[in-house]
Every structure is written in structure tokens, then in C-alpha cells.
Amino acid sequence: MRNRKNLFYAIILLLPAFGLYCAFLLYPIAQSVYMSFFKWKGIMNTPMIYAGIDNYRRVLIDPFFWNSMLNVFWFMAGGFLVLMPLAFGLALVITSKLRGLRFLKTAYFMPVIIPLTAVGLMWVYILQPNWGLFNTILQGLGVKDAAINWLGDPKTAIFSVVLVNEWIYAGFNMLIFAAGIMAIPEDIIESAIIDGASSWQRLWRFTIPLCSESFKIFSILCVTGCLRHFDLVYIMTRGGPNHATEMPTTLLYSQAFVYRNFGQGNAIGVIILVCGLVLTIILNKFLSRED
């Protein structure tokens, strides 16, 4: 009797959250897979025409799509080559017993909580080619005709956005590594010191291997995060110049809401979804085997 009453209450308490979750997340995901096999112009009451895998074929022969995947790769490369060493380095320092660092920890984290649109806009003007801060400083440092159009030149645009992205997330990822470093039992490091290991050896033989969980979390967040970048690119370049900074998500947006090819948009959505899941599973497997 009591159990049945509890079952009733459990369902009542779960229902609002789970209902919404089904209506606006699970059902849309299913819907997006389903709609990716149809052509649809996005107008209510117009028919959806079955198109088989034609939407996927169109996406996969689109050079802009492959360019957007290359940009995802640049985001990942930036993540592992710039963000990871930077965040780990900061975490090492912040967890050491040097004084006066608590304030810094708070400061580093700041960019993450600011709206990405505001941060992006801020950097658009700092990187402005003719009068922006960045080129002004370069000129001041003696680079005479520094007038690089950071965001306007297809060659530099994506790297500029990637670096702004690393600027935003350095403090956040620092905390992930700092949590890993602080979890290392102190006696392990102490006995290493007694055994005469140099700080360099301690870093490579103990600190880094014992933080493998943090590196795993970083890798998964970085890889899945790179696939879904939207806000920053959209505010800074709108995917331009000449589609040079297009991401899969910005392509999805413009295919659907600008060109009204909802089928192709959904096909891109499904590709993002599948890539994300596959990469997460691979990373989980690959990284847990190491320890």
C-alpha cells in the first residue's frame, strides 16, 4: 500500500521535469534524425518530401562543410596545444604554496561567466585592423606596418577566434587541472622529494600521471565542445570572411534559417550528434586503458 502511494508520488514529482525533457530534448533529437531524410522548406503545412540520404550526400560534397570540419580541427588543435599547457601550467602554480594567488584564481575564471557575445564583441574591437588595441600595440613594439586584419583575413580569422576561445576558457580548465593536482596524496610527492627526484622528474613521473583523470575530463570537454562552438564564431565573424570561419553549427543555422534547407540543416545536426557521441566513447575507452 505504502509502496504504491510512493510510486504515485514519485511519478508526480518526476513528471514535470521528465515531460519537458522529452518534449524539448529527446523528441527533438529523434525528430531531427527523422527530418534529416526529408526535404522541407520550413514553412508550416507544406509537405516534407522524402529524400533518402540525399541531404547527407549534399552535405558531404559541400566544400564548406569540410572546411567547417577543418575549423573544428583547428579548435581542437588550439585546445590541446595552447589551452591544455596553459591551463595546466596555471594550475601547477595556483596549487603551489606561493602566496597571493587566491585572488588570481578568481580573476582567471572571470571570462567564462561573461556572455560570449559580450566577450566576442570586446575582442572584435580590440582586434580591429585600423585602430584596434592589438595592432596599435604591435606598432608600438616596432612592427612598423602592423595592420593585420585579424578577423577579416581568411588566413588569420579562424586562428584569431581560436585564440580568443583559449583566452576565455583558460581559467575554467585551470580549475579542472587544479582539482586533479590537489587530489594527489601529499605523501607521494613528499617521498619522491626524499628519494631525491628533481622538480622536473616529479612533474613528469608523478604529478602528470596522477592527474590523468583531469586530462581525460579536459579531453572530452575539449573535443565535444569544439564540435558545438557557435556563439563566439557567430558574434565575431558570422562564419566569414567568405565562409572561412564557418563551423558545423553555423552552417546548420544558415542552411536552415537563411537558405531554408531544413533537411540539410538536420543532416548536419545528426552528423554533429554522431561525431560527438563516437568521439566521447573513443576517448573514454582510450583514456581509461592508460591507467
Binding site: 510512493n6 514529482l13 524539448f24 559580450a118 580590440i126 596599435t136
Partner: protein
């Protein structure tokens, strides 16, 4: 010994250099935006790093009224507040069931919620736009709130379930013997105890919702209803005779978040970290 000590001090020096350098790199762009928000164009172009000669505080009034930033900020705060309240209530209701009951379906539902955090929301924007416009919910804050709540629930449920699992079960059992039903136990006993985590989860929901962009782009069309992020998009690549108000707009958009962060930075950091690490 002397060599060793010198080596340590070099390391220390390097550590301080790295940290102060990064602190400078982090703070400086905000500082630059702040000082340029009161400058005339002549003092901005090529001189962004200089302190203002004339201080044009009226640019803030222009940003607030003419560029409608006041309206957008109020809209975003409203949406964020509604979303936070609904997420906190629905989230704790669900979390309580997921943390306490042992029905076969609860574990499955919990896993489903956790998987939800990994799903890229952008893959859902087309169907969500279709569903919402089918329900006549374009330009409707109530609908937008429900969409926001959906995408904030997994995180909140994860944090709250973890916290509630840590609360001693004997408290529930005692209350049950006294004849309390599940909802009463939740709202009278468990929820008050869980307040620290409800606060943490709420702050994070608030921050995310305040800044949200993509759904405000596809689900809002009336300028009066625009959010901060949607409003700021207007400025991308805009160069006008008066840049000051644009910088002032950025400063105002950022201000509520900075305020929250200054007040609650421990909670913000801990909450975001816990949310990220679950995977």
C-alpha cells in the same frame, strides 16, 4: 645547497611571472573596454590604451535608452529569473525521486538525464523551432522559459541528486513514520537542507540563461523582447561616429554577471566544475 636555492627561486620567479602575466592578459581587455566606453572616437582610434581625456558619461545613458540596452538587460534578467525558479523547483522534485526511490525506472531516467548533458543542443534547434512555432510560441517568454529549463535541467538534476544522496536517510524514515508523504518530506525537510546546492545550481542556471544566444535568435522576432546577447549582435562589425556607447553597452551587459560573480565566486566555480566533471 646554494645552487638548489637559486634554482628554486628561479622557479618561483617564473611562476610569479606566468601568473601575473596571465592575470594582466585576463583583466586588461575588460579594463580597455571600460575606459573606452567614455571616450570620443578621436581618443579611441589608435589610442585604445590611453586613459580618457574627456569623460563622456552620457554614453551610458545613450546605450541604456537609445541602444535599448536597459530593455535587453531587463528582458534577460526576467528570463533568467523565471528559468532559474522553474528549474530549481522541477529539478529538486525530480532529484529527490532520483536520489531516494528504488523503482526500476528511476535509474534509467537518471541515466537519460545525464546523457542529456552530452547532447549538442544545436542539433535540436530546427525541431525545437518547428515545435514551438507549431504551438504558437514564437515571441512568447513562457515558451522560451520552458525551452531554457529543459536544457538546464540535466545539470541541475545532476548536482541536486548528488547532494540529496548525501543526506542521511534516517531523516526521511523518521518523517515517514510520523505520517509525512513524499512531497511533504521533500518540501519541508529535504529541500531546506539542500539549500546550499539549490543555490549553487541556481546561480549557474542564471548565468547560462542570461547569456544564451541561439534560442533567443530563433524563437524571438520582436525587438522589444530581445535579450542581451541578441541585442549585442546588432553591433557586430558596426563602426559609427560614436563608438563610446557601443563599449558602454558591452560594459552594461557584463555588469550583472560580474556582480553575481563577485558576490558568489566560490559557488560559481564549484558548481561549474562539478557540472563539468560528471562525464
Amino acid at each position: 645547497m646554494a645552487v638548489k636555492r637559486r634554482k628554486i627561486s628561479i622557479l618561483k620567479g617564473f611562476a610569479y611571472a606566468l601568473t601575473s602575466f596571465w592575470a594582466f592578459v585576463t583583466i586588461y581587455p575588460f579594463f580597455i573596454t571600460l575606459i573606452n566606453s567614455v571616450k570620443v572616437n578621436n581618443e579611441i582610434f589608435g589610442k585604445m590604451f590611453r586613459m580618457p581625456g574627456e569623460w563622456h558619461f552620457e554614453y551610458y545613458a545613450q546605450a541604456f535608452f537609445d541602444a535599448r540596452m536597459g530593455r535587453y538587460i531587463l528582458n534577460s534578467l526576467t528570463l533568467a529569473l523565471m528559468t532559474t525558479a522553474v528549474t530549481a523547483i522541477m529539478g529538486s522534485m525530480a532529484a529527490y525521486v532520483l536520489a531516494r526511490t528504488v523503482f526500476r525506472f528511476t535509474k534509467a531516467i537518471y541515466l537519460l538525464f545525464i546523457v542529456g548533458v552530452m547532447l549538442p543542443i544545436h542539433a535540436t534547434i530546427i525541431p525545437v523551432a518547428k515545435i514551438v512555432s507549431g504551438l504558437g510560441g514564437i515571441d512568447n517568454y513562457f515558451m522560451l522559459t520552458l525551452v531554457y529549463v529543459t536544457f538546464q535541467l540535466p545539470q541541475a538534476i545532476f548536482l541536486l541528486t548528488g547532494y540529496m544522496k548525501g543526506i542521511n536517510r534516517e531523516i526521511d524514515e523518521a518523517a515517514m513514520i510520523d505520517g509525512c508523504a513524499m512531497p511533504a518530506i521533500l518540501f519541508k525537510i529535504i529541500l531546506p537542507i539542500s539549500m546550499p546546492m539549490v543555490a549553487t545550481a541556481s546561480i549557474i542556471v542564471f548565468i547560462f540563461t542570461y547569456s544564451e544566444l541561439i534560442f533567443s535568435v530563433i524563437l524571438l522576432s520582436k525587438v522589444d523582447l530581445y535579450t542581451v546577447s541578441r541585442g549585442l549582435m546588432y553591433f557586430t562589425g558596426v563602426y559609427t561616429v560614436r563608438m563610446g556607447p557601443i563599449f558602454a553597452s558591452i560594459v552594461m551587459a557584463v555588469l550583472p554577471m560580474v556582480l553575481i560573480y563577485v558576490l558568489f565566486h566560490e559557488k560559481v566555480q564549484r558548481g561549474m566544475l562539478a557540472g563539468a566533471v560528471k562525464g
